[in-house]
Every structure is written in C-alpha cells, then in structure tokens.
Amino acid sequence: MIEIKDIAKSFNGRQILKGVSSTFETGHVNLVIGGSGSGKTVLMKCMVGLVEIDTGEIKYDDKIFSNLDRKERKPFRQEIGMVFQGGALFDSLNVEKNVMFPLNMFTSMSFEEKRDRVNFCLKHVNLVNVNHLTPSELSGGMKKRVAIARAIAPNPKYLFCDEPNSGLDPQTSIVIDNLIKDITEEFNITTIVNTHDMNSVLEIGDKILFVHKWEKWWEGTIEDILKTDNKELNDFIFASKLAKNIKKTGLI
C-alpha cells in the first residue's frame, strides 16, 4: 500500500501540487486522472522520488519514503517498477538486454536464470522471438510492452505507469490495460497508473483519483464516477458528445 499525505510541490514559485492526499491499495489498479498540465506526472514523479516534495509525506507500506535520503532509498527503488510515457528503453541495448538490465545490476542470478526470467516476463506481455530486436525496430505498443516486462522483471512490489496508452491505437491500448490489470492481480502489486484515456478508466480502474487545478478534486471507484454530479469530473470523463449521450442513456 502507498499512502500520500498533503503533498505539495512548486517550481520557481509556481504551485504544481497543492496538498494532495490519497491511499493506493495493494493488488489494485489505482488510476490518477486529470487533464494535461493538471500535475499528475509531477505527482507520480514525487511518489517515486524523482522529484522531491516541498511538504507532505509519502509512505510505502510502513516506511516513510519521503524522509529517506538517496542511499536509504536505494533498496526501496529495487522494489519499484516504472513504465514511462515513451517507454524509456535503453537505445543501445536490445530487448533481452533491456529487460535483463535490472537483473544484471542487482541480482546474483546466473545468465541462464536471468534469460529464463526475461523470457517469462516477455511471454507475460505477449512478446515472443523479439529478444534480439533493438528499441528502434519496435512499434509503439511493443515498446510499451517491453517497458512493462522490464518493470516487472525484478518482481517489484510497486508498479507505476505514466500514461501507458499515449500514442497507441484503441486496440493496443486495451491490450496494455488488460496486461497491467492482470499483472497487478497475479503478482499482488500496488499499481498506480497516470492516464487520460477514458477507456482505461472504465475498464481497469479499481480506484480513481481525479487531479484538477493541481489538487485532489475527486476520489472514488468506477461505480462512483457514473453516479457523481461533480461537474469538472463529468466534463473531463464525458467530454465528447458520444460519451455524454451514452451516460444520459445509461448504457455504461
């Protein structure tokens, strides 16, 4: 479980996060939604320690992550997997070496064990016979899947995905969403996904945190979303005419 309390962050005097608090449960897909520039990526970067918070507290299970220094965070980081918006695969390494990278760095596994683990992870993301390909030879969807495989390779307890569907076609987006959901449940991971893909919200969101104007605007489940009268949230979720009509007719 990850708990954040009153997180605030500003850059050059401009407030980007204003006292955001929430709890993200283990074994669930927790979605952070919000428009572009709402502060959700900064929130995620704060949670993983890429950006230091000004005030507040970030707790991973029973440990206060935000109080730890760089050295103390190191063992923690090995329990965190992250899928970046663009995949962030290492260009100079092929798929196999990319997925093997965290294992090379932090485990004493033999090469055969590592290769088995890589193949296991790649199979989980529905990729086979791609070990030798370089990132430049992969499609957008394949890159995302390799990034997920790399993130889960060291058996993380916490998985962060920053807009995993951006730039993907609807069908591939669904594949990625289902993959995240399955992995979360199978390995009992605490998963946090930043997204503004409404399909993801409706398909895989166990819990949803809506960030608007740099603060927590709304929080609830998918059932709550369909019933809420929160104007900003409804405007965001049901932005298109089609979505508005679907909500009106009660087809969801």
Binding site: V48, K74, M82, G86, A88, M105
Partner: protein, 246 residues
C-alpha cells in the same frame, strides 16, 4: 552570475560521480566499450589530422628559414617540438572535443529527454556515475595513447612532406628530430592530455546531463559542450604551460 550557477552545479555533479559502483562487472563492460569507442573510434580523424599537421608545420618552417646559417636540421627540431609540445596534445584535444565531446553530450542529453536517465534512477542506479564515470576513466586512459600516436604520425607526416617536396633531406630531418631531445616534453604533453581528457568528458557530460526539453535542446547542449570544452582546454593549456614549463 550565470557562470557561478554552472560552476556550483558542475561541482555537485562531480561529487555525485564519486560513489561505489553498484556492480563492478557492469562498469567494466561500460569501460571497455568506451575505451574502444574513444580510442579505436578516434584513430581515423586523429591520424589524418596529425599527418597533415606535421606536413604543414615542416613546409612552413622551411619557408620561414631564410637565414643560410641555420642548418636545415632545425626543421626537424621545430617540427618535433611543435608537435610534441603543442599540436598533438592541444590540437588533438580540440579535435576530440568536437568529436567525442559532442557525442557524449548528445548521447546523455538524448537519454535525459527520453527519460532513460530517470529509468536508471528509478532502478536505484546512480545515473550520473553509471553513464559518466566509465567515460572519464576511459578518456583519461586512452587519450594519452591517441596523442602518442598523433605525435608519431605528425613527425612522420612532416618527414614525408619535407622529403617529397624536396625542401629538406631525409638525413637533415631525422638528425633534427634526434637533436637536443628533452624527454620531459613527452611527460608534459601527456599531463596536458590527461587534463584535457578530464575536461572534455566532464564538461560534455555535464551539459548532456542537464539537458531539458527536446531535440533542439540536445543540439544546443552538444554545441555548448564543444564550445566550453574548447575554451577550457585553451585556458588550461596556458595555465599548465605557465606552471610546468616556466
């Protein structure tokens, strides 16, 4: 006061590099890759520049030798000392700042803007040390060898050009390069080279590592890396010459 900001940030950047590596075997592999990249990868441009540089120095020296009392073997002495003391360590370092410096800045800059550096940090890896330390060590190890090769090729180029042009005989040139040779000059040149190697790699890595934005900023970082490395090379060239040779 902008330079003070950069100086402070450069200092913090350097401080972060000094850590115990996560795994020596990984750093060793990186080091081998960089040694090959910096050494073997630079030989072509270094060889070409050195041969022509030696050739030009020789011909220009002959052209300027108007006093009949000065023996032609002086051409060898001038070519040798110019190449060893200045042209090979400094000129080659400027050439390498262009080739390797821009490559380091753009490689790390691209990794930064595509979040590959963040990916390393998330895994618990000290990204600056992992990406930069092997490059610094590799450059400081391999650049002296590259410069030694450059010295040899420069002197060889001077001999070939002088003899082919018929402006100096082979015997005079060879006698010149053996006359009153000071072995310390080689040591001095290597001290300069190692200093320049450190400047090129750290300044370029610094610019690459602090790239923010996109492709345009990567290009700007690459340019800044070459410009500032070159300026620092020239300043340290003067300082080291003043400190060691006077």
């Amino acid at each position: 006061m902008n330079w003070l900001f950069h100086l402070g940030r450069y200092w913090i950047f350097m401080k972060d590099l000094i850590i115990k590596p996560e795994k020596f075997s990984i750093y060793r592999k990186q080091l081998t890759r960089e040694l090959d990249n910096f050494g073997y990868g630079s030989l072509g441009i270094v060889a070409l520049t050195s041969v022509f540089m030696g050739a030009v120095i020789t011909i220009q020296t002959v052209y300027n030798l108007v006093n009949p009392l000065v023996p032609l073997s002086a051409v060898g002495i001038v070519a040798r000392d110019s190449i060893i003391l200045e042209f090979s360590p400094t000129m080659m370092s400027l050439v390498l700042a262009g080739k390797i410096g821009s490559s380091i800045a753009s490689e790390i800059g691209t990794m930064k803007v595509t979040e590959q550096v963040d990916a390393l940090e998330i895994m618990g890896i000290n990204s600056s040390a992992y990406l930069v330390l092997p490059k610094i060590v590799a450059a400081m190890v391999i650049f002296p060898f590259v410069v030694l090769i450059s010295m040899f090729l420069g002197i060889l180029g001077g001999w070939i050009a002088g003899v082919l042009a018929g402006v100096v005989s082979s015997a005079d040139y060879i006698k010149g390069i053996q006359d009153s040779f000071v072995p310390f000059n080689i040591v001095f040149a290597l001290i300069k080279t190692i200093t320049f190697a450190f400047i090129i790699t750290t300044v370029s890595a610094y610019h690459g590592y602090h790239t923010e934005g996109g492709a345009l900023e990567v290009g700007k970082s690459s340019t800044s890396a070459v410009v500032y490395s070159s300026i620092l090379i020239l300043i340290f060239d003067y300082l080291l010459t003043q400190l060691i040779l006077t």
